[in-house]
Every structure is written in C-alpha cells, then in structure tokens.
Symmetry: C2
Subunit: 303 residues, 2 copies
C-alpha cells in the first residue's frame, strides 16, 4: 500500500470495508502513514449533480499534475444490488489514467459504521500517496454528513430548486460546509439561492477558525464556474493549513469515540439483558420510558 | 390531550420535543392511550414532491370524514431557522378545518433522537383521537428512514429522474417500503422506473407478512393517480390489520432499546473516561483502533 501499488490498495480497502481479519491492525498501520493528502468531502442532496461536479474537479486536479482518488460512499442495499445498479460507469473514460483511483464503498455492514469505514479508506489512499482524496456521498442523512465532515475541506453542493436547497440546509449541512457550490447556475433561481445562502452565512456567528464560507455558482454539465470553485477550495486549503493539525486531532478523537461506542453497543445486549428486555415488554402496561428505566435500573446484574 | 383539546395537544408535543420536565411520564401516559390511529410514514428524497402528495392524501381522508394529523419532521438547524424558512405555509388553507392538525417537528436536540421524538409525537395525536397520523420526513438519511418506519404503513415517494430513484433505493428505502409511489407520472421515464421497481420487488424474497409491495404512479401536482394510491394504502391497512399488534410490539421493542442505548451513551463519557481518552490520544503513536482498544481495556476502573 505504502508503495502505491493499486492492487494492494484495492485489497486493503476490501479488508477494511468488510471488517476482514486483521482490519484493525491494517487500519492503524496505514493511519500512521497518513497526513500528506488533501481530503475533500463532497455532499449534498441526491440529484444536485455531485458526480458530474466531482468529475470536473478530478479533471482540474489532473491538469495540475495532482494524483486524485475518489471514494464514492454508497450505502447500497442488498435488495437493489443487481437490479438498479449501473450509474457508476462514468469513471471509465479515466480508466487509462494511473493518476486516478476510483472506489465505490458499500459500507452498510462495515464495523463502526459508514463514517469510520470511509475515513479508513481515505487513510489507505492518503498513505498510498494520492495528492487529493475526494470522498463523495450519495445523500444528506446524518451519517452522510458525518462522512463528508471527516475531511480537511467540506464542499456542499446544492441546486437552485428552492425546496431542495431549503431542505438541504435544514438537515445540518450548513454547519459542516467550508465551501458552498450552487450547481446548475443557469437555473433562473440560482442567484436567488446564492443570495439567500450568503445572507444566512453573514447572519451566523463568525467561525472559530476565521474562515468565511464562500458561495460559488457553477454548472458542472456546462463546465462553467469550475475555476472559481477550484480557487475557493485552494483558498480554504491554504487558510486551513494552520488548522489542519487540530482538525485532524479532533477527527481522531471523534473516530475513537465512535469505535468505543460501537464496541460497547455490540456488547451491551447480552442474553441476560435481552431476557430482561423481553420481560419488561411483556408486562401488561409496558410503556417506553417505564420499560427503559426498569432495564437501566436492573443493569447492575446483567447475568 | 385525551379529550382532543388542540392547545393541550400542541403543548404536550412541545414538552416531548424539547424534553421538558416530566416528558417521560407524559410520553408513557399518552402511550397507554394509543392504538386507534392509522399511522402512515411518508419518506423519499428531497424534491420528490412529498409535501404536495401528503396534501392530496389529507384532502382525501377529509372527504372520507377522517380526522388527520400531519407531523413534518424537519431536523432544522438553528443557523437556517430564520433566513431560509417559509416552505410550510402550505397548510394555511386548511387553517379553518378542525379535523386537521399540522405540526412541524424540529427535533435535533430531542432526547433519544429523531425517531423517538417523532413516535412520541404520533402517540400524542393518536391518543387525542385523530383517525390518521401522517409522519413525513424531509430526506432519506438513516434517521429519516427510522422515523418513517415507526408506523403502520410506510409510503416511499420517488421521482422518475433515474439518478434520484436509484440513489434513493440505495439508501435502504426498499427494505422499509410498504407502498411505492412514483410521483410526477407525466415524466417520460416514469413507466421505466415503475417497471424497474416492480422487477426489483419480484426478485426479492417474499415478505414474512405475505404483503406484495405495490408500485403506484401518480402526479401530486396534477392530482392524478391519488385514488389508486389511496386504494393501495387502504389495502395495506387491511392486510396489515392482523400484523398490526406484532408490528407495534416490535416498534416498542426498538424504541426501548434506543432509549436504553441513548441513556447509556450519555452516561458513558464520564470525566474519568474523558481523561483516559485524552491521554490515549496524546500518545505519540495514537491510531484509532489502538486507542479504542486501550480505552475499552481500561474501562473496569472508570473513576
């Protein structure tokens, strides 16, 4: 992996994604070799044009001579695995370029959850020497936001359909965004959305790191505004340089907490506690808080 | 609340939403008075037209003489509270109708999380005597899916833009859907998506409850196909009648487990464990799994 061997990289990711034997040691060893790559998280509602935009960014990074890895986080369902797949053929035209690595992560069963697996995957690519690691999510649920946030620079992509962007804002995207991109800039309401976003950002208290979140208009399909977007991303990378160490420390903190909590959760429902739960529920007047309180009170003897 | 007093209902929901003193007792007492209402969860990606569709369904239920409550689960961010709000004026034209109750839930800080708060809110409306309680989510993240799933009938709304529906399927919606509605049926690709969905459903193993998930085409804005959709919903309600008791018991089980886990999580990071975490992270070679393992090993003395 450290030598940048593509097959080793792919295998390491598979081990981590599926929690195969030894994935903890592998993750930790790889982790210690990280710190060089610029990690960019891309999130936004479905249909915002994230994939096309990511393709444009990859093209720019390649022009600038930077090797780039893309992690597409797809919490695939086993049900849809076969029947509805096939939106990921897009990277094929870069198949000959060894400076690009594309990986789709189907991490629903990954130990520790989506965010942990995505971050460990980015670690592998960082350790393998990629200059830029782009982590892209499919939706804007809480876990997708966590995935995108575990990076150096968070790019939130919105579209001008007012309902969409309002709803996206409500799901907590605003707090994590380092750069906003309003895609489909040719839409009649694009400038309206940009103005509303800028206003909302101004109204907010200044960020601790002093960074003022830019709102960039672009059109991924027409390849317009991508230069401006790149400028904003680079600007944030520069400004964030001093913050990077503390941001990474904080990320490690969150990650360790997640691992501990998920290990605890797995251990929690012992057979004794399961039985206690069943009998609490079997009580004729079982109601949620009463049952929970009874269980928590009884936990001193988990049998 | 039990007398159906609207002000009391609104106040009870506020107490639950914000975890005000006594919310546990209130929740449990209200819970014991539930079981009459038909609970329908509506979910789907942003922009699928869920709100308009819900409005149409409400109109039909009202025509049939059924009182209806709508819970719109909006995990609002404090940041967007003022600047980007205002998509929820739509219920105003029903303001004079006492058979309709609309409530938007901003539950990011609610104790136990989104799903617990939404279910307790539905309990209040059930206990207050509403015939139908529609719980609608904004997005399709994991927590939104949990919210919608904690109902008797889960309606998943998709739109024919192929990317959207494929992505929506990937986020785990397929497992929870009792009825699919492909909205914007006038779209050229609508029948294609319907066919793909039906095929995917057929390929899947039969459900334990014997229900075969229907896929209905509709156009909420043009008010077309709503009758068919209503038929499918009623059909599921009828079929689910026998399943309802076991489904509710399972819901209570999940809910109690969530409450216990969230109480445990809150208690977990004692000051002693926080200190242990900090020192694990301060170690020069700190890496995620090593640090987590050290913490878990040291947990016998949490100080």
């Amino acid at each position: 992996v450290l030598a940048g061997d593509r097959r080793a990289v792919a295998q390491a990711i598979t081990v981590i994604e599926n929690g195969l034997p030894g994935y903890e040691e592998l993750s930790d060893e790889v982790y210690r070799a990280t710190g060089r790559a610029w990690r960019i998280g891309v999130t936004g509602p479905p249909g915002a044009g994230k994939s096309t935009l990511v393709d444009r960014l990859v093209a720019r990074f390649r022009e600038a001579g930077r090797t780039t890895a893309i992690v597409a986080v797809d919490p695939s369902s086993p049900f849809t695995g076969g029947a509805l797949l096939g939106d990921r053929v897009r990277m094929d035209d870069r198949a000959g370029d060894h400076g690009v690595f594309f990986r789709s992560l189907a991490t629903r069963g990954a130990p520790g959850g989506l965010a942990v697996a995505a971050e460990a995957t980015a670690d592998v690519l960082d350790a393998a020497g990629f200059d830029v690691v782009l982590t892209e999510t499919v939706g804007v649920g809480q876990s997708e936001i966590e995935v995108a946030s575990a990076t150096d620079t968070v790019l939130v992509v919105l579209v001008p359909e007012s309902g969409d962007s309002v709803q996206a804002m409500k799901t907590g995207l605003a707090e994590v965004a380092d750069v906003f991109c309003v895609n489909k800039a040719d839409h009649p309401e694009a400038s309206l959305v940009v103005r509303a976003l800028r206003q909302a950002i101004e109204l907010r208290a200044a960020r601790d790191d002093g960074w003022s979140v830019p709102v960039v208009q672009a059109s991924a399909t027409m390849n317009e505004g991508i230069g401006n977007l790149m400028d904003s991303l680079y600007l944030h990378a520069g400004c964030a340089e001093t913050q990077r160490a503390s941001r990474r420390r904080e990320r490690l903190r969150v990650r360790v907490m997640r691992l501990v909590e998920s290990a605890e959760r797995e251990e929690y429902w012992t057979s004794g506690r399961q039985r206690a739960l069943e009998s609490a529920l079997a009580a004729g007047d079982a109601a949620p808080y009463g049952a929970a309180a009874a269980l928590l009170a009884a936990r001193s003897d988990p049998a």
